[in-house]
Symmetry: C2
Subunit: 582 residues, 2 copies
């Protein structure tokens, strides 16, 4: 099974989400040819270096023995090649060796990386999170010693948050950071679920660890952020003796076997404070939007991988008679139900990709737009879209991977085929970086309320404008009609959430997020269909068909979703486990 | 993690789908106490003997070596105990050692078996299919020699249909049955995906194999059904020398590792014709309804297993502050989004269970109702509901197992927790015994058209009557309103399918089946809520809340589903692989 990075799709998606305008305003030195060249080269690297390792990474996985983790076969060399190719540093500050490109372009490259090999992609993804944390909150010395190594990929980074009793609720963490009397700290405690927490792919690994200080208040106010390094660093950043932390084991997981998920034991490891005492969670939250968006991109990526495999299989596998042509035996692609699945998979992938890339462009604009007002507006919409990009896209990842298995029929259940791996790998994305339930709570509890609902209402108004344009194009009128109904439903549900709040809104959070994603996804597809209009390229012409299919299968459900989410809170509150149990 | 067979839920479901009336009419010797005793005892066997083997079966699986399969650890002894307990023979004819109980009760016992251990349950399930095939089409000698052994469980049966090039399209099969000149045949060819095709749990295994005869016409008319036995039988049914077929390997699968999925090689195996030459597929189709319904029950079963585990975890795991009570740390059961997932899981399980048991009761009535007219009506509705029971329930199985992982958060992705196994096991059920796409095609291509649509229209009319009753009960009025809209939407979509037919209807098949299942599922929950009405048992009171939640989250989408399924056929027909590919 050959994977081919979806360079054309991504390039088209970037065009339709305002990336060219972003480049004009904020990246004058980055022209369209350079963007195309970056995407082409990243796609080639993903196809030739990362995709071939994916199956072996699943079969053999990372290994733990004698207090150390060995990366899956080929992964260490691939990481060195990835770093040498400069793929680790696309959006990083040139001051520290980065290339200063747009976040949206970097996300696009990450999508191809995750699609080729999701377990591998987590290593640079977590390294990038560490880069962002240090760039924002590190001391000058920390930046000088550590950032260039992370940006170059000589070292990797890990984010160390979860503890056995503290997952979604980080306030419950107990890892301690004790002052060492010399201005530093020593870390004591155990972290779990630490992605790429240990490995043999690079000479050193730095951990960003949240922990309590001895005299800290309880709860989130008592949590600070610390930097620790697998090997101690001298004042020039050279590595010395081993520090006092080590992996205790790695998890035996459903998927992403090539990504070592470590239990980490901190046994007096020397560490430095990052940022301010008591601000650990706040510092983490600054990165959270970026990491959540990255995970949304993973959902797109694994869906793309599963889709490509299913599409290829559907053309090779022959069974039965084609209903349209009468051919026998027909490629199963020629059976309407199979083709419907494939088109729906593709439509949802395009919708999710465009949502994620839109959020990426907003992240760039939030930093780089000309005026404070524009930056604030971009930031607000970025924050609104981030939980949707994360949760909706990762749900799409699971759904599309499951449909990919289904298209394969019995062969999909056989591990050798590879479809099953995508189904297993995809399942983590709705869980980590804040479960999709947490995303939904964030959306209704914080984001929708921004500006008394103005941020979401403005979005709905823009969607309605696009719907109006669509209704004026004969072959997209049905999309326009359903998109308008969807936007009205979303607006209505938004009013309801804002009017109720509290437990009522939280009870509706999951369906509300789904509604928002469904409608915004339809908006994205409608815009793509408009952008493709008039072309006689069959691939561009297909965008209208995808938008229509999505409008019938997804958008048409929006009014019902909006209606249904309004009741239920009282029943949820009253339901006891005993009444639910058999 | 302790599994407890859902005896109370199943008993309640049986009551609400007309099982008591069936017993009065057709099983006068089977009273309510006996039914309760059978369910209790089956539940106890499932809990104590089968559930404890489930995880080990997953980890160690069945093994193939040196031309033979060894069952997963403990499975052989468990099968002997299962047979010794009489669980293999509940609905079989007493003439051959069966107990002559209702199919609906037998299905209920199978649900508990599959929930405890789905990989195990496949062995008696396939044996039962062989029993039905022989009972209907076997010669007197075949029945005398083989049926008692299968009914007692001394031997097991396997159904041998699929070949590498012939999966959904059995017409393409090439296995040959050559006359041996003595009235028998020898089999030559290869079958794949043969569930429990070989194992060491019993002394003998009989295979029902579809194959071509040398002078047969091409296509389905050339296919006949044959009986072959792992060991040759003398005229008393005693086993002798080994016959010439053997397993070539077993598959490495995503799930159900405890169920050996065999490649079977027939190398001149002696075999006997079953039924008539050229009627092999027709003979198989008679059993197909039963087997498809059984797989639907597997969907219910794996969902129940996943639900129980998620519910237990949600009460143990503490994270964050409870939004209603303010407790800290709260059981995650007290977070609205988690509780909504659990209630939706439970509602869908109850809906799917009731659909399957309704279909089981109809299967009994189709054989045993008093008049020919009643039997014909039951058979028609049984045939209508079978593809819905199979496809909708197995989709529920996957969906609920996925939500079960999600409720667990990060722990759900760790294999040791067990939630991941259910997610893997559940994935086969939408595929085997006819993919869910095949079920949808069967529904719109054959079943909806029965009586020019009268069978489905009568069902819709009954649903509308229930909806009317519901609207008159204050706390169920919203369910009644949405159920009426759902039934109207189903009727409308049915008219559309009947008016269009052909490729248009096949293009809408998947969404149409989903719509039908969603609405009929809501009907089942509405009836359960009515049946539970007035009780002050909290568990029974909970039925109304489940029906309401389902009405908001599922039924309210029915009008949109019905609207959306009507277009798309032209876009499906026009879409080329090149336009879909990146």
């Amino acid at each position: 099974m050959t994977f081919r990075a979806p360079v054309r799709d991504i390039a088209f998606a970037l065009q339709t989400v305002g990336h060219p305008a972003l480049l004009e305003r904020a990246f004058p030195e980055l022209d369209a040819d350079t963007v195309a060249a970056v995407l082409e080269a990243a796609g080639q690297f993903a196809d030739s270096e990362l995709a071939p390792l994916n199956r072996r990474g699943d079969l053999e996985g990372a290994k733990y023995a004698n207090g150390a983790v060995t990366a899956a076969p080929g992964f260490a060399d691939a990481y060195k090649a990835f770093a040498a190719g400069g793929w680790n540093s696309l959006s990083a500050d040139p001051e520290f060796g980065g290339q200063g490109l747009s976040k949206a372009l970097e996300l696009s490259v990450f999508e191809m990386t995750h699609a080729a090999n999701m377990a591998f992609g987590l290593c640079p993804m977590l390294t990038q999170a560490a880069i962002e944390a240090l760039a924002l909150h590190g001391t000058e010395r920390q930046k000088r010693l550590v950032l260039p190594k992370l940006v170059s990929g000589e070292w990797t980074g890990a984010m160390c948050l979860t503890e056995p009793q503290a997952g979604s609720d980080l306030a419950a963490l107990t890892t301690m950071a004790r002052p060492d009397g010399e201005g530093g700290y020593t870390l004591h405690g155990q972290k779990i679920f630490i992605t790429w927490g240990d490995h043999d792919a690079t000479d050193n690994i730095v951990h960003l660890v949240i922990a309590r200080t001895p005299d800290a208040p309880p709860g989130v106010k008592g949590i600070s952020l610390f930097l620790t390094s697998k090997y101690l660093l001298d004042d020039e950043g050279r590595i010395g003796a081993r520090n006092d932390f080590r992996p205790g084991s790695i998890e035996h997981k459903l998927g992403i076997h090539g990504s070592p998920t470590c239990v980490m034991l901190y046994e007096g490891a020397k560490a430095e404070l990052v940022g301010e005492i008591g601000q650990g969670l706040a510092h983490m939250f600054v990165m959270m939007n970026a990491a959540r968006l990255q995970v949304g991109v993973q959902g797109v990526a694994i869906a793309e991988r599963a889709f490509q495999q299913a599409l290829a299989f559907s053309q090779e596998r022959r069974q039965g008679r084609a209903v349209w042509s009468g051919d026998y035996p027909a490629a199963i692609y020629d059976h309407p139900d199979v083709r419907r699945m494939l088109m729906l998979m593709k439509a949802k992938i395009e919708a999710a990709r465009a949502i994620c890339l839109t959020t990426g462009v907003l992240a760039d604009l939030a930093r780089l737009a000309d005026t404070e007002q524009e930056r604030a507006a971009a930031k607000a919409r970025q924050e609104l879209l981030t939980p949707i990009a994360k949760a909706w896209s990762t749900d799409v990842g699971v759904e599309v991977a499951s449909m990919g298995v289904q298209v394969h029929g019995g062969m999909g259940f056989i591990e050798e085929t590879g479809a099953a791996q995508h189904y297993r790998d995809a399942r983590i994305a709705p869980i980590y970086e804040g479960t999709n339930g947490i995303q939904a709570n964030d959306l209704v509890g914080r984001k929708v309320g921004m500006g008394q609902g103005a941020v979401m209402r403005e979005l709905c108004a823009e969607i309605l404008l696009t719907a109006q344009t669509l209704t004026e194009v004969p072959d997209l009128a049905i999309v326009g009609k359903r998109l308008a109904q969807g936007a009205a439903a979303l607006e209505h549900a938004t009013d309801w959430v804002l009017a109720h709040g509290g437990p009522d809104a939280l009870s509706a959070a999951g369906p509300y997020l789904k509604l928002a994603g469904d409608v915004i996804g339809g908006w994205m597809l409608g815009r793509q269909a408009l952008a493709a209009g008039g072309s006689d390229d069959p691939w561009l012409q297909g965008k209208a068909a995808l938008a229509r299919l999505y409008s019938g299968q997804v958008l048409s459900l929006a009014p019902g979703l909006a209606e249904g989410l309004k009741d239920g809170a009282a029943d949820l509150e009253a339901m006891t486990p005993a009444a639910l149990a058999g």
